[in-house]
């Protein structure tokens, strides 16, 4: 009893997690050599360390995959290990879904499933995967520290030394966030490495955060996701890029930004040294970037447009170029790049003037989703970058430029731009009355429709027809009108009353190319600073080394 005569329950243990970790690790003491798990013992070790029902954070990043560990996880006996709760940024490999099919894993919290979107949709519908929630990347990392702390982290690094210090280099990505959450709450951190080394180029993750290291049978899988061949950029995309540079970047003085990956944004990057230069914009726009190392940004960097780039992850082939440009990129004392998705996402949330991305579908209020019938791709970073963070307090000209009206208590906004052609290839309209996501959400038993970016966060929409300055709309009806005015002959666009276009243009809610002094005949491929991968290599003086699939020589 205590002073207040309140009943305290009998002595509870405050070290259950620590004790559990110790007793699990004790079981494999005979197998491991210090902190090294023999390569051929990995399945046995996983079967011993993991308990059914455990929360497993598996890398599952955007570019980097702990592919040796996911293959090993696929080989555990489902009678011994089952019902695992997987926490993964990106469902990228067939292995990642095979574990569900085998009954090893049951529940999933994730962010992105682009490469596996078809199978993901099917397995959710069949009840083979139970989705906790779809997240944006930063949100998933946040939950690692709240209610989704992993029991086990399965991650990948380039090198480890005998103390377990890790070098993750350009492909650091999500690893620090996952390892920190796991290590500091008595989870078990298992790292696959390409090699053990006596001396690391630098320490990205300290050995005291790491429990076990295993040398993989081959290097971890790495995808070049952010390389776009300029040859595939169409004149339509060039027209839209010109409009964006003139009608948004120049008009609002956008100095810091993130480009969502795609040919549209690659076109913008390649037009800065040419079209942007002709407008006298160098030094005035696009100086600071939260961006993966896009090869298509090389000409702008070489031409002196770019002050800084912080990267979410690496890009295969860009390592030497980045290392040769330490004034621009974030690099360690060893000279190689350090990426960090969590911090890049924070940068993309709070510290950029503008986000620009694309989508598969958009409704008449500018809500958008890449979740369409039969495909569940998730969201990646878009919801995070594509929203206005109302916690922001510092101002920039672009952010202040979003203020309409007059009041003593005001706030600006992040520019959130959606750039889409009115139709996709195959004559699928992008602008639709109702997002497929609503139905898909119901079929997958999700509590709310999986919307990627909400219309009320969108400040601008760019199509091949023109720009809708949605932030200027005084009512929902005005927003809908401005959007319909640039929605072409899609179902949404067909409802547009052409006679209202004049007024919308006069009021500055809509701008057509002619309003921006752009002739459609100027949208030529010859305007691109680089027209091929080969050109990019030349711009980089041979430092950029494109992976085989992008080389035509």
């Amino acid at each position: 009893m205590n002073n207040l005569n309140v009943m305290i329950p009998p002595e509870r243990s405050w070290t259950t997690r620590r004790d559990r970790k110790a007793s699990q690790i004790a079981k494999i003491l005979g197998i491991t050599k210090g902190l090294v798990i023999p390569t051929d013992k990995i399945v046995e070790v996983l079967e011993t360390l993991i308990l059914s029902g455990d929360r497993i954070a598996l890398e599952g990043n955007n570019q980097k995959q702990a592919s040796f560990l996911s293959a090993a996880l696929n080989q555990v006996n489902p009678d011994k290990i089952n019902n695992l709760h997987m926490i993964m940024s990106s469902i990228s490999l067939p292995d990642h879904l095979d574990i569900f099919e085998k009954g090893i894993a049951k529940k999933l919290d994730f962010s992105y499933a682009g490469a596996q979107s078809l199978r993901m949709a099917q397995m959710i519908e069949d009840g083979v995967v139970t989705v906790g929630a779809i997240h944006t990347y930063l949100e998933l990392y946040a939950r690692l520290f709240v209610d989704l702390t992993p029991n086990i982290a399965l991650v990948a690094a380039d090198k480890a030394d005998a103390q377990g210090n890790l070098y993750t280099g350009p492909n650091t990505e999500d690893t620090p966030a996952i390892v920190e959450a796991t290590a500091f709450r008595d989870g078990i951190v298992i790292v696959q490495v390409n090699e053990l080394s006596d001396s690391l180029p630098r320490v990205d993750i300290p050995g005291s955060w790491v429990d076990f290291v295993v040398v993989a049978d081959k290097p971890y899988k790495l995808e070049a996701l952010f390389t776009r061949d300029p040859r595939n950029i169409s004149e339509l995309q060039i027209l839209m890029a010109m409009m964006t540079i003139r009608g948004i970047y120049e008009r609002h003085q956008v100095t810091s930004l993130n480009h969502g990956v795609g040919f549209n944004t690659a076109a913008i990057e390649l037009l800065l040294p040419t079209y942007g230069e002709s407008l006298g914009l160098k030094g005035k726009i696009c100086r600071n970037w939260a961006l993966n190392p896009h090869p298509t940004l090389i000409p702008a960097i070489e031409s002196g447009w770019v002050d800084s780039v912080h990267c979410f992850g690496g890009e295969v082939g860009m390592e030497k170029y980045v290392a040769a440009r330490p004034d621009v990129f974030f690099t360690g004392r060893d000279g190689s790049m350090r990426s960090n998705r969590a911090f890049s996402q924070v940068a993309g949330q709070y510290a950029v003037d503008l986000f620009i991305g694309s989508t598969l579908q958009m409704d008449s209020e500018a809500n958008s989703s890449t979740v369409t019938l039969g495909r569940l791709a998730g969201f990646g970073g878009a919801p995070n970058m594509g929203h206005d963070p109302r916690g922001r307090r510092h101002t920039t000209p672009a952010w202040l430029n979003m203020i309409t009206g007059d009041s003593s208590i005001q706030r600006g906004k992040k520019l959130v731009v959606q750039m889409v052609e009115t139709f996709q290839q195959g004559n699928n309209p992008v602008f639709v009355e109702s997002l497929d996501a609503i139905q898909v959400g119901r079929d997958a038993n999700l509590p709310i429709a999986p919307v990627m970016i909400y219309g009320d966060d969108v400040t601008h929409v760019v199509t091949e027809e023109g720009i809708a300055y949605l932030y200027k709309a005084n009512s929902l009806e005005e927003r809908r009108q401005a959007l319909a005015a640039i929605a072409g002959v899609t179902p949404v666009g067909m409802r547009h009353d052409l006679s209202t276009t004049e007024k919308l243009r006069k009021d500055g809610l809509v701008a057509l190319p002619e309003d921006l002094n752009i002739k459609r005949t100027e949208a030529k491929r010859s305007l691109l600073a680089a027209k091929s991968i080969d050109d990019l290599v030349s711009w980089s003086a041979g430092l950029y080394e494109p992976p085989a699939k992008f080389r035509s020589w």
Binding site: S234, L236, T422, F423, N427, T463, E464, E465, T521
Partner: protein, 100 residues
Amino acid sequence: METLTFRYKVTKSIPRSAHVGVVGSGDLEILMEPVNNGYADVAIRTRFAGYSQIWQGLLDRFFASNDIMAKIEINDFGATPGMVSMRLLQALEVSQDENK
């Protein structure tokens, strides 16, 4: 393959002819010639049949905003409506350019 024709009643003439685009995958070629008969006649040869509604919508909109007397020949290889719209307006720009 499908051949479609459309006719619009129009009034303004254009200074010169225009030829834009190419018959490449996802693209189209537009040949625009001045005429003087009070009509715009459009003939479309398209690789992909079944989209006459969309062509109708595109051309209705184009002529609603652009009153031009022209004979227009379109050779299409699966361009999206957005691409068609851009090429039509490019052809218009070229046809209005007195300086060439």
